[in-house]
């Protein structure tokens, strides 16, 4: 039992990071019914943007958030406004293909500029731990990831609840024509929504960059995590995103403790399969 405490703690903290990785994607799915296959790559783009600032200007990765988050807002705004909005409302496939194409372009662009070398955003937090008694230690960087992840979800929740644009995004997702009739330019609203989703992806990208190493091709790996979180938590649900993130991360880390690190990913997806079998709409999903 004693052995389990550490992976359980790590799983909980990692869950917060998984949630922030998935929140932008689940938001876009909930609103526009768009499966953004480029979500992982756009997130990694955020990691590289941060890397540029860190290595050129010597910034601490946390400070780069101040620049990367707004830049990624505009990236998202233009991706939706000029690419995805054009193919929206036709069928399911065209937006899927555009997003997939964007994913490939981004990966190769990053490969061209940054070479396939492994990168990481260095902070002195990554080696710090706080002993919690017994053999359990609190890894500070994971803890920071978790806190920032929760903060992002809380801020997003408040944004959707209390602002005109946030409410308009929800209104447009409830009834698009109804929203248009109230004078809401829904295409514009979708661009804002994607911009906001990319702001969360920027945060996720910087956190992932600090916590793990990344390559130009790492994006799809996180896309899969985002999918897993979305499916476990319930498509389009923000609450579900945090819970889904924690369940997936716990399953991975506790599973790794029992079966060995080689089985970490497999066990995560076994839990995903079980959720799909028992409650296909996800824990907080609506039927």
């Amino acid at each position: 039992m004693e052995d389990l405490l550490q992976p359980m703690l790590n799983g909980l903290l990692l869950g917060g990071l998984y949630a922030v990785i998935a929140i932008g994607m689940t938001t876009m799915f909930g609103i526009v019914k768009l499966v953004n296959l480029a979500h992982g790559d756009l997130m990694i783009l955020g990691s590289y943007l941060s890397l540029v600032l860190v290595s050129w200007l010597g910034f601490n990765p946390f400070w780069t958030l101040l620049a990367v988050v707004p830049v990624m807002f505009f990236v998202g705004f233009f991706v939706q406004g000029f690419l995805l909005n054009r193919v929206l409302g036709k069928e399911m496939e065209p937006p899927l293909l555009v997003a997939f194409g964007l994913s490939i372009i981004l990966q190769n662009l990053l490969l061209l500029i940054f070479t396939p070398d492994a990168r990481s955003l260095m902070t002195d937090l990554s080696i710090k731990t706080i002993p919690l008694g017994g053999s359990v230690n609190l890894p500070v960087l994971y803890f920071v990831d978790f806190l920032i992840g929760c903060a992002v979800i809380l801020v997003l929740h408040l944004f959707f609840k209390n602002t005109y644009i946030g409410r308009a995004i929800r209104a447009a997702s409830d009834d698009e024509i109804g929203a248009r009739l109230m004078g809401i330019n829904t295409k514009n609203i979708y661009a804002y929504a994607m911009g906001i989703a990319m702001m969360t992806a920027a945060v996720a990208g910087v956190l992932v960059g600090m916590t793990f190493t990344f390559y130009p091709h790492t994006g799809p790996q996180y896309l899969i995590i985002a999918f897993g979180v979305m499916i476990i938590g319930g498509l389009g649900s923000m609450k579900g995103c945090l819970v889904g993130g924690i369940i997936l991360a716990e399953a991975q880390l506790i599973g790794a403790q029992f079966a060995g690190p080689g089985y970490q990913l497999l066990i995560g997806y076994l839990v995903l399969l079980i959720v799909l079998g028992v409650r296909p709409q996800g824990i907080f999903g609506k039927v």
Binding site: R170, A171, G178, G183
Partner: protein, 238 residues
């Protein structure tokens, strides 16, 4: 022009791909009046309202709102100019609260600053919405949802309000109540276009009526001057 026109529709043709839904429709609505458009299912009434509000683009023809051309403008440009549609099927936002639904009605920038004022006016008009203001809109009864749809449209401070089938599926007492509120709205000087299948009620409320059949206007006049026989024949195309 002696009396100013709120709405002037001229020679409107609408196509859904190859299918022509409206044929040469012309209609005039004088400011401050209630005008009724009646017709059977599929006669083009909703198409007409959707085109005026900007959801559909006319293939031919013009639409003038208080003398200004609005044909081809999307709803986010027609709403600030003073025309708002209460759509068929209400189209309220089910997972937003009653209050938030009303807030969305005042979305266009110039209306936002006066939001609390217009919301209290809406609550005055429909007190039941005030009682329910924190409830999700999908928990409301059908009649309350219809009231919410009308109140939400009023939030944009329209000069002209288009009502599409507002009595559909509601109990007679509630319809009566809603029509009473519409009368109050009209008293404030707001022009109303009513599209209804409930012929009797809407003719009673209106000062001018148009009857549509298969995408064309087949009869028009003051309800008092139209005989039941005339309306029936126009309605069914006999």
């Amino acid at each position: 022009m002696s009396e100013s026109l709120a709405l002037k529709v001229r020679d409107l043709d609408i196509f859904y791909k190859d299918f022509q839904a409206l044929w040469n429709v012309s209609l005039e609505v004088r400011e401050g009046k209630i005008v009724s458009v009646i017709g059977a299912n599929g006669s083009g009434k909703s198409t007409l309202l959707n085109t005026i509000s900007g959801l559909l683009d006319p293939t031919r023809g013009t639409i003038e709102l208080f003398g200004e051309r609005i044909d081809g403008l999307p709803p986010h440009e027609t709403v600030p100019r003073g025309v708002t549609l209460v759509p068929e099927g209400r189209r309220i936002f089910p997972r937003l609260t009653v209050y938030e639904n009303l807030v969305m009605g005042s979305y266009t920038p110039r209306r936002r600053s006066k939001r609390e004022e217009t919301i209290s006016k809406a609550y005055e008009l429909f007190p039941v919405l005030n009682e329910r203001h924190d409830q999700m809109a999908d928990t409301l009864s059908g009649g309350e949802q219809q009231m919410l749809a009308i109140a939400r449209a009023m939030m944009s401070e329209p000069k002209l309000i288009l009502c599409d089938e507002i009595s559909l599926g509601l109990a007679p007492v509630i319809i009566k109540d809603i029509y009473k509120r519409l009368g109050q709205i009209n008293q404030e000087g707001i022009t109303i276009v009513l599209v209804e299948q409930d012929v009797k009620r809407s003719l009673k409320a209106a000062s001018q009526a148009y009857v549509m059949l298969e995408g064309k206007i087949v009869l028009e006049g003051q309800p008092s001057s139209l005989t039941e026989e005339q309306v029936k024949n126009a309605y069914f195309g006999i």
